[in-house]
């Protein structure tokens, strides 16, 4: 029997507010344990939460950017469970009435386009973390993260493959970074994803039993874990077994997941409205304000790149997939004329370097400004493409600016007519057989002559000058 996977994703995104959601403590990462705490976020007796308006604005922004309806009235609930990293013994979240609902994202995966529904976006506070000290047999609590604002974005179970899940997640990640509500850092946990996966016989409408996958801290791990889970469930079902409803933890070093807890151990969170907070009322003016301040989204930027810069659909998509990349591109081309050339250089040479080093564009050792200078030298024919590659490599290594590398290495292009003409004449004299063959119609040999010129000039000849010269002399 053939099975169809049904996948839904739950994403927790940390909002980039300066202060926590219900108190005025800083949200700064990396502070010493419990430095960012106060009586409110440590759950002292008698203290009360006061909602951070900026967090609401960010949640509205995320809702609008994902085509959601913003609820004019939403509510905060208490989600009750006991754990030492949860000081109040409950997490303030939105259960019955979330801030945003009924959105969607259009994705492209496996060669087709697909619309993925977004069930809801709700606001909540983060919990702290436990630090275990095995030597002393003790656990310590760090409440710096407690009360940091999060939104949880829940997709419809519309995804069918791991690559669709990956595409959805990348798109959502890009949007949240574009609208500047989340820094998107997956390692520090500011963008976290859980996946619900089930299988059903093809053609069946009813969903199968699902498992929840946790600890998916990179795009690759999300896809790998989902693939693994699809295979695991397929195996179970084909062997005549039954999938058990459970939470499974992904182990990225072993590339497999293991059961964390079963349905019978699932929590009863006893949600009920938090009486310490009044209903959250969002009026039209607030929504209009957020809409007015909304930056260009990936789709809009892509369309603009196509029309304004004459880029192909594919190039525009690659360059706008990440806001930092799009910004790098636009900064690079500002002083340049040959935009197509700049796009190619970014997509091949620069991205190749980033991939090889496994770093993000934000961590690039070459800034857009320097990169632009390099391409400027190429554009004004002061260096040729080969030399430009050499300069780029040197820039990565030493951080020098391209101009001084060109001077130091003597890479300036030879475009002096007289000098080149002498060389071309020499080459024609030295290779009579090839000249004859060329003249007999073997025009492919043109690149041989070009190669000879480059050899003589150690790659510095300007092809724009040499090409017509060779053609006329041959």
């Amino acid at each position: 029997m053939a099975f169809e996977p049904v996948i839904g994703l739950e994403v927790h995104a940390q909002l980039k507010t300066k202060t926590k959601i219900f108190c005025s403590c800083s949200t700064a990462f990396g502070k010493s344990p419990n430095a960012n705490t106060c009586p409110v976020c440590t759950g002292m007796p008698g203290v009360l939460p006061v909602l951070n308006k900026q967090a609401v604005t960010f949640a509205i922004k995320a809702g609008l950017a994902t085509n959601c309806t913003i609820n004019r009235e939403s509510r905060f609930d208490r989600k009750n469970y006991f754990y030492p990293d949860l000081p109040k013994g409950y997490q303030i979240s939105q259960f019955a009435m979330p801030i945003a609902e009924h959105g969607f994202l259009d994705i492209e995966a496996d060669g087709t386009e697909k619309r993925i529904g977004i069930t809801r976006i709700h606001m909540e506070e983060d919990a702290g973390k436990l630090i275990h000290d095995p030597l002393r047999g003790k656990s310590m609590v760090d409440l710096n993260r407690t009360g940091v604002p999060l939104i949880e974005i829940v997709s419809e179970p519309d995804l069918r493959t791991a690559s669709q899940a990956g595409a959805y997640l990348r798109k959502l990640h890009a949007i949240l970074k574009y609208i500047d509500v989340c820094d998107g850092n997956m390692e520090q946990g500011s963008f976290r994803c859980d996946a619900n996966v089930s299988l059903r016989p093809v053609g069946q409408e009813k969903f199968g039993t699902r498992t929840e996958l946790k600890n998916l801290n990179s795009f690759k791990n999300v896809e790998k874990a989902i693939l693994y889970e699809i295979q695991r469930q397929t195996y179970v079902l084909e062997e005549g077994g039954e999938v058990i409803q459970e939470t499974r933890l992904w182990d990225p070093t072993k590339n497999r997941s293991a059961s964390m807890r079963g349905k019978e151990e699932a929590h009863d969170y006893r949600y009920f409205p938090d009486p310490d907070l009044v209903p959250l009322i969002v009026d039209d003016a607030w929504i209009q304000d957020v809409r007015a301040g909304m930056p260009e989204l990936p789709e809009e930027k892509k369309q603009r790149f196509i029309t304004a810069y004459n880029l192909s659909e594919y190039d525009a998509a690659v360059l706008t997939a990440d806001l930092d990349m799009a910004n790098f591109f636009e900064q690079t081309i500002t002083p340049l004329k040959n935009i197509k050339q700049a796009a190619n250089w970014i997509m091949t040479t620069l991205m190749g370097m980033l991939n090889a080093k496994a770093i993000e564009i934000s961590e690039s050792p070459v800034s857009a400004h320097e990169f632009s200078k390099l391409l400027g030298l190429l554009e004004s024919s002061r260096i040729n493409a080969n030399a430009a590659k050499t300069v780029f490599e040197q820039m990565i290594e030493t951080g020098q600016d391209p101009e001084s590398i060109v001077k130091e290495k003597g890479l300036e292009q030879v475009s002096d007519q007289g000098e080149l003409e002498g060389m071309v004449d020499e080459i024609i004299q030295e290779n009579p057989d090839e000249v004859q063959a060329y003249r007999d119609g073997k025009t492919k040999l043109f690149s041989f002559f070009m190669g000879q010129v480059m050899k003589k000039t150690r790659g510095k000849a300007d092809p724009k000058v040499v090409t017509p010269m060779l053609k006329s002399k041959l």
Binding site: T42, M44, P45, G46, Y90, D268, R270, V278
Partner: protein
Amino acid sequence: MNLHTLTIAQAQDLLAKKEISSVDLTRAFLDRIDKYDNTISAFITVDPGLALKQAEQADQMIAKGKSQAFTGIPVALKDVLCTKGVRTTCASKILEHFVPQYDATVVEKFKAQDAVLIGKANMDEFAMGSSTENSAFFVTRNPWDTDHVPGGSSGGSAAAVAARFCAGAVGTDTGGSIRQPASHCGVVGLKPTYGRVSRFGVVAYASSLDQVGPITRDVTDAAMMLNLMGGHDPKDSTSAPEQMPDFTKGIAMFKEKGLSGMTLGIPREFLNLKGIDPEVKTMFESARKTLEGLGVTIKEISLPHSNYAVAAYYIIAPCEASANLARFDGVRYGYRDMDSDDLIEMYKKTKSKGFGPEVQRRIIIGTYSLSSGYYDAYYGRASQVRALIMDDFKRAFDACDIILSPVAPTPAFKIGEKVEDPLTMYLSDIFTLSCNLAGIPGISVPAGISSTGLPMGLQMMSRHFDEMSLIRAGYGFEQAVNHIELPEF
């Protein structure tokens, strides 16, 4: 002059005229606490040194001419209000040694006027109870008859005012916890509108019902204290942005035009309740006549859902409490059981040993009522009943300005009399609970003394944010009723 007999208004006047000093006044109260609190047990914590220091500071302010309404006035705080640097126990073992790093907003307001915070008063543990017998430390005794309870949960505060250990006290009222002990101790207790007084720093029992208010010798003092305590607090999202009038104007209004034009409603459902002491009925009848004598119109009204108030309250309050008290887990502060091998055991032992039986009972009721599969039948249904009770009051206030009832069905009962019977104990809140469910204000004014020599109070309730009418009518009633002298000792 017996300084301890002064009301807040009288003391304020003499302090301003520099006829007495705050230090003398504070000393007078401290002397009485020293002499009589062994018997009454109104206080959990008294720090005479700190109180006298505050009194000295107040005297300096008065000398500099920087006196405000409460400068130098000794006030007791229910031990549920957080006081920076002074332990705040909620009469629970779990917080026995807890010292807050912050003041409740209400406490800040007293401090800002250089009031003297004379002590932290006993209460039912976490404000759960109607007799102060649920204190983890000791029972407070009724100054009128020490075999009897002072009521609860603000029993320590009410007893301290009745015993003249302080000029006034702060209590909290979740289902009658200010009004009922005030009634049992022969003093005035005012529960303001929900949202009128900040709850910040007040250890929560049931957040949607809790409200802070004054317990005082008379209505004038209650108005003055509400003036100080009320007002919007940005630290409490449920505190109301409503304007704060000068509530002593209610007294001026009475002096000017009496109670003419006021309509008072008596709910017919309350008249036929079972279990009301005949003496309470007699008191209520004569209170009604007294008020009629003041020119009010009295009407019979209906609160059709009031029969369900006790049931709804004892679901909603425990549900909120079960979450509010979850934070007392032994991890960050408070009592922790040290003999546990793992986390779950630590939680279980800490809570089992740290909380008393009534608190555990309510946590369990609340946890159960919120559980999946039971939520709709309990919390959901109780919330619907609450909405109906609110509607009842809204309709009732179309026909009248004030609703009248006794505060409690009986005068203060004997210590130990109802401890084994929580359900009967719950019924003693029958007249006061609805007020909290509806969020409206209510006042308890001494109305008479039983044949056994115990005081009984009259309850008046009014529309949201109309405490002014309660002050006006309460003051009028207080003036008209036979003066009730506090027991002499």
